[in-house]
């Protein structure tokens, strides 16, 4: 077991190395002169040279890459071209709203998606099942910002139940914090709910046909007990896997959701960086979120042995 944990942790190193190499070499393999693109159309040749030097484009690729990796290992993500502040500090300043949004979305999406997926499998091929699956197709099809505007229009502008936009830090109290996050989390969660509900249904359908479910029913265990204890436990591995993979959707969607609801998080930082073509910031954000994604999926891999003791490495 310990052997497996160590091997699995070591296996993430090449993955992160590919991510780092890719994000870094983009500067070199992008068509045209990235320094000129970043400097913009009104830049003087001197500006372009300054940006070229600050990106290290005037030095050999391998030396520059080595230095850069060394910096990252010391938690130094470089310096913003636009503000001259360290990227790590800029991200740290903005991380709270983004993590809050993602955490709230995760909790509420899982607590909706898993039960409706279970019910869809239980009532397979009935009108309830059809309705839930139709909702799942809709969830995949309606983009996150469309849902965001729709929710904000109905629940904030028309009904006036919740704030339209903005963010209140957690330090100012739980209620205003959660109030501001309900609509964004609902919008961001739709795709995620659709994904998890679909997978839950498929995994449950498979498990419900097993002999031990029949045995459980014969023993006289009630329907909820069979569904949520016996079956769900055995369907847990694919469900947890898709929850981990879906984090990528949350990360990408957070950028857009923060724009729609004017949440001052890392997503807004990214959008501002795109407009100013502040590549070091974008690079830092991509690296950080890829790292979070890899770590989350590593933890889920390790969780398998807990969820299903039959899995042995």
């Amino acid at each position: 077991m310990l052997n497996y944990v160590i091997r699995r942790i070591l296996a993430t190193i090449p993955v992160m190395a590919v991510v780092a190499l890719f994000v870094f070499s983009l500067l070199y393999i992008a068509p045209g002169d990235p320094a000129a693109v970043i400097a913009g159309d009104q830049a003087t040749p001197a500006d372009v040279e300054r940006i070229r030097a600050s990106l290290g484009l005037d030095r050999p690729f391998l030396i520059r890459f080595g230095e850069w990796v060394w910096q990252i290992l010391h938690a130094d993500l470089g310096t913003s071209i636009f503000t001259n502040l360290p990227v790590a500090a800029m991200i740290a300043q903005r991380i709270e709203p983004t993590l809050s949004l993602m955490a709230v979305t995760l909790v509420f999406a899982v607590s909706i998606a898993v039960p409706i997926g279970v019910v869809a499998a239980w009532r397979a091929d009935t009108i309830i099942d059809r309705a839930i699956m139709a909702f799942a197709v809709l969830g995949f099809s309606v983009p996150v910002f469309v849902i965001g505007y729709l929710l904000a229009y109905v629940f904030a502008l028309q009904l006036d139940w919740l704030p339209v936009q903005g963010y209140t830090p957690l330090s100012e109290g739980l209620e205003p914090w959660i109030e501001n996050l309900i609509l964004p989390a609902l919008a961001l969660g739709c795709v995620y709910i659709a994904l998890i509900a679909r997978t839950t249904r498929a995994a449950m359908l498979e498990v419900l046909q097993q002999d031990y479910i029949r045995t459980a029913r014969a023993k006289g265990i009630g329907q909820p007990g069979i569904l949520f204890v016996h079956a769900l436990k055995n369907a847990a591995v694919p469900i947890v896997t898709v929850i981990g993979i879906g984090i990528a959707l949350l990360i990408g969607g957070a950028v857009v959701t923060e724009t729609v609801f004017a949440i001052p998080g890392v997503g807004r930082l990214t959008v501002d960086a795109i407009l100013r073509r502040d590549y070091p910031v974008i690079q830092g954000v991509v690296l950080l979120f890829s790292f979070i994604y890899v770590v989350v999926n590593l933890l889920i891999d390790l969780l398998y042995t807990v969820l299903d003791p039959r899995i042995r490495y």
Binding site: F22, V146, I282
Partner: protein, 316 residues
């Protein structure tokens, strides 16, 4: 075919009727197990058997026609400015209203169909071709497999939208660059799928037989492997197309996509962003078109999946 005699319970039988007339009378009519086969032919029959393909396909076709015939559908120049008539509500003159520069939103939305479909279809085709090549190489050349799959793992751990954002930040905005960026983000998923299909096909007896008969590897790929990857690839391509259209709209919406001079649904929504609380229709119309188009492509994909792989149909 004549139905077997045991099926119908309502048949009068003097012996049993005499024994227990009430029982027979209350016995339910059993369903006829061998219903006469009604052959459904033609377009209508196809639509009845595959409603998802029919509805999705019809909607995609409608969008294609809108894209092709945009200039003749009562549109005006989608980039023509009219500052004096800005932010008009939807009316007879401006069917979907006008934006803050006085441009006709109806015309812009119709022309925007072109960008979305071009990006969706191009990415689907390019990512499928690239994924097919990489998946085949990876599935057949064992030495390359490890390296290729590590690279794909790495690319897959960058959330697709962030990957596309990073690529777009370094290039000048153009539809071609948007297509390239989204294609690169989609390739890993397609190659993974092809590789897994190839690996399972390699174990099939008919491939062993072909190898034993002395068939060369290129011929095996062409004859036995490639045709069998087509069905899952087609289904995957529709999902790639749907996701590419969403990503294009998102990129344009956050200012990293199609240049603002080209009307695309994401751009129209980006321009309507500042005003959406007072003029929600600017955002509403492109959003509705985008959602319906993506829904249509997804329906088409689900329908194709069910039709091409009945085993999957039961599970998802």
């Amino acid at each position: 075919m004549t139905p077997p005699p045991v099926i119908t319970a309502a048949a009068p039988d003097s012996f049993t009727t005499a024994m227990a007339p009430d029982l027979i009378a209350s016995a339910p009519d059993l369903p006829d197990l061998f219903r006469p086969v009604r052959l459904r032919r033609g377009l209508w029959g196809f639509a009845r058997r595959h409603p998802a393909i029919a509805i999705g396909g019809a909607l995609v076709l409608a969008m294609l026609l809108i894209a092709l015939f945009a200039p003749w559908l009562g549109t005006v120049d989608p980039t023509a400015l009219a500052p004096a008539r800005r932010t008009r509500e939807p009316s007879a003159a401006y069917w979907f209203g006008s934006d803050m520069l006085g441009r006709d939103i109806y015309s812009r939305v119709l022309y925007g169909t072109r960008v979305s479909l071009a990006v969706g279809f191009s990415v689907a085709i390019l990512a499928s071709l690239a994924g097919l090549t990489i998946g085949l190489v990876s599935g057949f050349i064992r030495r390359a497999d490890g390296l290729i799959m590590r690279v794909m793992d790495g690319l897959m751990s960058i959330p697709p939208i962030l990957l596309a954002v990073a690529l777009m930040a370094l290039t000048r905005g153009s539809v071609g660059n948007v297509i390239t960026a989204i294609t690169i983000a989609e390739i890993p998923r397609v190659s993974r799928l092809v590789r897994s299909v190839v690996l399972s096909l390699r174990e099939q007896p008919y491939v062993d037989a072909a190898v034993a008969a002395g068939t060369r590897t290129p011929m095996i790929i062409l004859r036995h492997i490639l045709p069998n990857t087509l069905a899952p690839m087609t289904v995957q391509a529709t999902y790639v197309c749907a996701s590419a259209m969403i990503v294009e709209a998102i990129l344009s919406f956050i200012g990293a996509g199609t240049p603002p001079t080209i009307p695309s649904w994401g751009n129209i929504m980006a321009e309507g962003r500042a005003l959406w609380q007072v003029k929600p229709y600017i955002v509403f119309f492109p959003a509705a078109f985008l959602s319906v188009t993506v829904l249509a492509v997804n329906l088409l994909g689900d329908g194709l999946r069910d039709a091409l792989d009945p085993r999957m149909a039961k599970r998802l």
